[in-house]
């Protein structure tokens, strides 16, 4: 017994842990999270895993179960090398947006880290998942694990039936379009694995029941004779587009529903990839907020634990070391700089909001009259966590003080000019400009190219026409686009044209074509 152990409240000492310590620490954290911060969370499930298992989970995009694909293997072998050679540490934790909320913690970590991770993942992320409107609307925390189970089994069955190559062909293509496989504006129905499986069975049964060999003998429908009338042709085209629901921004959805050559199982695989892409869509839009929320929560919980005398000074020092490494932001001219660190920006903003609520300056009162000095920091933050995504959150809450603290400045980068120009800095004239630009940088609809299926000639050569609306003269990465176009062609089975259209003038800037060679036509 060490002398320090006089304090009965102390949860743990040193870095060793066992399941009893985990449990009692969790209880202490839970007490602060629920009673002090008043968080609203899914039931928690904390799973202890080894570093090998962490590597496994890592490479299948953080999900505990996932279908097999070589690209996950590629990530695995790379991470494996990086980890073993010590170039790269492993994530401290993985948390899954599911109900119950599953967090993984690693066996190798010391107790301080375990406490930090539980506070961060099991309460911070968990609260965010449960309350943010995007997650509520777009993802189904209840059903995701069942759905993944279904997906994994389904794809394994397909591999058995149709061979690795056939399945890989489809998954490769679908993966390339994953970012274009989300509905940005209308939110989708939540996938239900039972329904999916049932639908697949129904489809197969329907085909069996209605199979008639006679159809095979029918002559091919000839293409319609040239419509003489120009207006009639235009009307027909419009009708056709309306029928197909064009324009359609969800390329995967369009291909799944309309690609002529795909078999049912191939459509189902495309659907699986699309659903998983959709599931991750909110995470991409809320990186700063999500991490900010989790960091804020763990920071407050660890401090509260310390204030209550439940952790030692040494543990606190260790925590601060981890914490400050996580929320480190390198300057733009630093070698370590690789964009804004979402942890740093998020955490700084959360802390700043807290400060504005409790201890505002005149400037804050002027900029944030609603919340400055309201003394309800937790409510204010929870409201922000629930109703914003990164872009709107930054636009709403980034304060002049934080811009000054982080010394943000804005650059105008026009390809036509030989120089970069500093357009605004952290001063009165520049705050709004800087804030607007930073918000735009976090807007996924700006970051990702704007692509839509606009037309297809179903009676003619079945050429699929996809439009890229080009903003500010920023083009697509050419070689990437060409390859991806090939993948679209693989799913579509016929030619594909990609048109770049200027968003202001509407004129077609350039085109890219893909024609399948005969062997590729399914």
């Amino acid at each position: 017994m060490s002398k320090k152990n006089q304090n009965p409240a102390l949860l743990f000492e040193g870095s060793d842990w066992d399941f009893d310590i985990l449990k009692s620490t969790y209880d202490a954290i839970e007490d602060i999270a629920l009673n002090e911060l008043k968080l609203d969370v899914y039931a928690n499930q904390v799973e202890v895993i080894t570093s090998e298992q962490m590597l496994d989970a890592y490479s299948s995009i953080g999900m505990p179960l996932m279908y097999h694909h070589w690209s996950f293997g590629k990530r695995f072998v790379r991470d494996d090398v990086m980890y073993r050679k010590g170039y790269q540490g492993l994530a401290y934790e993985i948390v899954i947006n599911s109900n119950p909320c599953i967090s993984y913690i690693m066996e190798e970590n010391g107790m301080v880290m375990q406490a930090l991770v539980m506070a961060h993942a099991a309460f911070g992320h968990n609260h965010f998942f449960k309350n943010n409107y995007l997650f509520k609307q777009w993802t189904d925390a209840e059903g995701i694990l069942d759905y993944l189970q279904f997906a994994k089994r389904y794809i394994a069955q397909c591999e058995d039936r149709f061979g690795f190559d056939a399945v890989e062909r489809i998954i490769d293509a679908a993966h390339a379009l994953m970012d274009q496989g989300v509905n940005r504006y209308s939110h989708p129905e939540k996938p239900d694995w039972q329904q999916e499986a049932q639908r697949d069975r129904d489809r197969a049964r329907y085909e069996d029941e209605t199979y008639n060999d006679l159809w095979r003998t029918l002559p091919q429908a000839g293409t319609d004779a040239e419509d003489a009338d120009e207006t009639r042709r235009r009307l027909r085209a419009e009708e056709r587009r309306a029928k197909l629901g064009l324009p359609e921004e969800n390329l995967l959805y369009f291909l799944e529903k309309n690609a002529p050559g795909l078999g049912n199982w191939e459509r189902e695989i495309v659907r699986i990839v699309r659903n998983i892409g959709q599931y991750f869509y909110p995470q991409k839009q809320t990186k700063v907020m999500n991490e900010g929320c989790a960091c804020y929560v763990h920071y407050h919980i660890m401090n509260a634990l310390y204030d209550r005398g439940q952790i030692t000074e040494g543990a606190m020092m260790e925590f601060i070391d981890y914490h400050s490494r996580v929320v480190f932001q390198a300057d733009f001219d630093d070698r370590r700089y690789s964009g804004f660190n979402p942890y740093a920006l998020g955490f700084a903003m959360m802390q700043d909001i807290h400060r504005i609520c409790v201890d505002p300056t005149d400037e804050d009162r002027h900029w944030f009259p609603d919340m400055a000095g309201n003394n309800r920091p937790y409510d204010t933050l929870k409201d922000a966590w629930a109703h914003y995504r990164d872009e709107s959150f930054i636009l709403q809450y980034l304060s002049p003080k934080l811009m000054r603290d982080m010394k943000m400045f804005m650059i105008d980068d026009a390809a036509s000019s030989p120089h970069l120009e500093v357009a605004a800095i952290h001063d009165d004239a520049g705050y709004r400009k800087v804030r607007r630009t930073l918000a735009r940088m976090h807007d996924i609809s700006v970051r990702e190219p704007d692509l839509q299926v606009v037309d297809v000639d179903l009676n003619g050569n079945r050429q699929l026409i996809i439009q890229h609306t080009q903003h500010d003269g920023i083009r697509l990465e050419k070689s990437e686009a060409e390859m991806t176009l090939g993948y679209i062609g693989r799913l579509w089975g016929y030619g594909v044209t990609l048109q770049a259209v200027d968003n202001e003038s509407g004129e077609i800037l350039h085109e890219m074509h893909y024609q399948p060679d005969d062997s590729q036509v399914a």
Binding site: V46, H69, F76, A330, F332, V422, I474, A481
Partner: protein, 450 residues
């Protein structure tokens, strides 16, 4: 409420399926990379699984992304030092160092992809499509060798195979089941009887009380009964005995011996020996993949031949003339002494610079045809030539004495092959050619090409 679950015992390697799919996908590139590595790697660490690098291209996962250059962009950076609005900054070249406004989403920019192969994966790829000549024939022929393998227990057998533990277990069960009195129990009763008797003897009257008398009778009866039962129920009964059973299992011969023959006369330079060594190591590694046990016999020769250890074989110097047949004689002797053909798969590789004592050629050929080749699975002759002389030797006139005498053998013996090696880079291709699946074809062309 919380569940803490210990998943550490769950199987790891969930990504194995993914890894295999990845290997399948990148197989061509990986194979190429493996061959490249081998060419530049010391032969001693050939068998280590190692890091290999393959071009990223085939593994690229494309997607629609914004180009990093061009257009009009605005972005915010942290850490302003002394800029004021209107400042102009020279555009950093390359673009990669600048901005970060449009960093690619996954940061996947590298051209090459590096990862580690396990030792087994490496060797599988390394020896892919290589085959041991005559392996099949030999294993079929070798069903003559048998091995004893346990095959459970039986109720009869020879006493030497008696399984004591099992037998005693059954015996004990039977004894307990039939209530056979224990020896200790009987002895105990006898002691009591003796004590009673002693008591009676000690009483001066010599008369035993009635109660003791009854007790004595009861004891006597009990002892009688117990002894009867012990006789009736034997300690070990034939139905208790269990015997170990063995079965003869045909055992395909999985041992091989590899003969390394090398000319160490003065004409062989260190580099030439190094080349020969590489070939031998490769062969050794290859045999190890196929056989449980591989013996290596090193025979070096000048004008005399002797069996030596590896160190001496490769590194010690010796001078003298060159008589190849001495080495073959030595090999024949070792074969006869230690390696009967029905138990060993025999492989031989001979390395030489082709010099031979002028009258020795015929003797070599007759030794080979009569004694050695019929016993060998495979016999490879590697002629090591100086790099500078490689050109000259490729013409028909430039053939060495030994080569000339060996060439006719390739026609009559398909498992005899000869190859010429000039530089380290040749080793693996030559090896592949010798052991590649269409070996018979390449073997004859090698002969014909000369």
């Amino acid at each position: 409420m919380i569940h803490i679950i210990d998943r550490r015992k769950n199987p790891k390697g969930k990504s194995l399926g993914n890894r295999q799919r990845f290997m399948r996908r990148a197989k061509e590139q990986i194979k190429k990379a493996v061959e490249n590595t081998i060419r530049h790697r010391g032969i001693t660490d050939v068998s280590k699984g190692d890091q290999i690098t393959i071009p990223q291209k085939s593994l690229h996962e494309p997607g629609f992304h914004h180009s990093r250059t061009g257009g009009e962009r605005q972005y915010v950076l942290p850490g302003n030092k002394d800029f004021v609005p209107g400042d102009r900054i020279a555009r950093p070249d390359g673009g990669s160092g600048s901005g970060g406004s449009n960093a690619s989403p996954d940061g996947d920019g590298e051209d090459e992809f590096q990862f580690a192969l396990t030792r087994d994966e490496f060797l599988d790829l390394f020896f892919e499509e290589l085959e041991l000549p005559d392996l099949l024939k030999k294993t079929l022929k070798q069903t003559t060798a048998f091995r004893h393998a346990r095959a459970g227990f039986s109720t009869d057998g020879s006493p030497s195979n008696l399984n004591l533990v099992r037998t005693m277990r059954h015996s004990m069960a039977r004894r307990i089941g039939l209530r056979r009195p224990k020896t200790d129990h009987v002895r105990d009763l006898e002691h009591q009887l003796a004590a009673l008797q002693a008591l009676a003897d000690a009483t001066p009257s010599g008369k035993i009380p009635v109660s003791d008398e009854e007790k004595r009778h009861a004891l006597l009866a009990e002892i009688e009964d117990a002894k009867r039962r012990m006789r009736a129920i034997p300690f070990i009964d034939p139905i208790d005995t269990r015997y170990n059973q063995f079965r003869q299992i045909p055992d395909p011969n999985t041992q091989a011996v590899m003969f390394c023959l090398m000319d160490v006369s003065g004409s062989m330079s260190e580099q030439m020996k190094e080349l020969a060594k590489r070939f031998f190591m490769l062969l050794h590694l290859f045999l190890h993949r196929r056989y449980d046990h591989v013996d290596v016999v090193f025979i070096r020769h000048t004008s005399r031949a002797s069996e030596v250890d590896e160190e001496t074989f490769f590194y010690s110097r010796e001078t003298g003339g060159t008589i190849v047949s001495t080495a073959l004689e030595e090999m024949k002797k070792v074969l006869a002494d230690r390696y009967p053909t029905d138990q060993w798969n025999i492989y031989a590789a001979q390395a030489s610079d082709g010099d031979n004592y002028s009258n020795d050629g015929n003797k070599c050929v007759s030794l080979l045809t009569a004694d050695l080749l019929p016993k060998c699975q495979y016999y490879a002759y590697i002629e090591i030539v100086d790099e500078r002389e490689a050109e000259i030797f490729s013409s028909a006139e430039g053939k060495s004495a030994l080569w000339k005498s060996y060439v006719p053998l390739t026609r009559s013996h398909p498992h005899f092959a000869l190859k010429r090696v000039a530089r380290a880079g040749d080793i693996f291709p030559v090896f592949r050619e010798l052991f590649g699946k269409d070996r018979s074809k390449s073997g004859t062309t090698a002969g014909a090409r000369t």
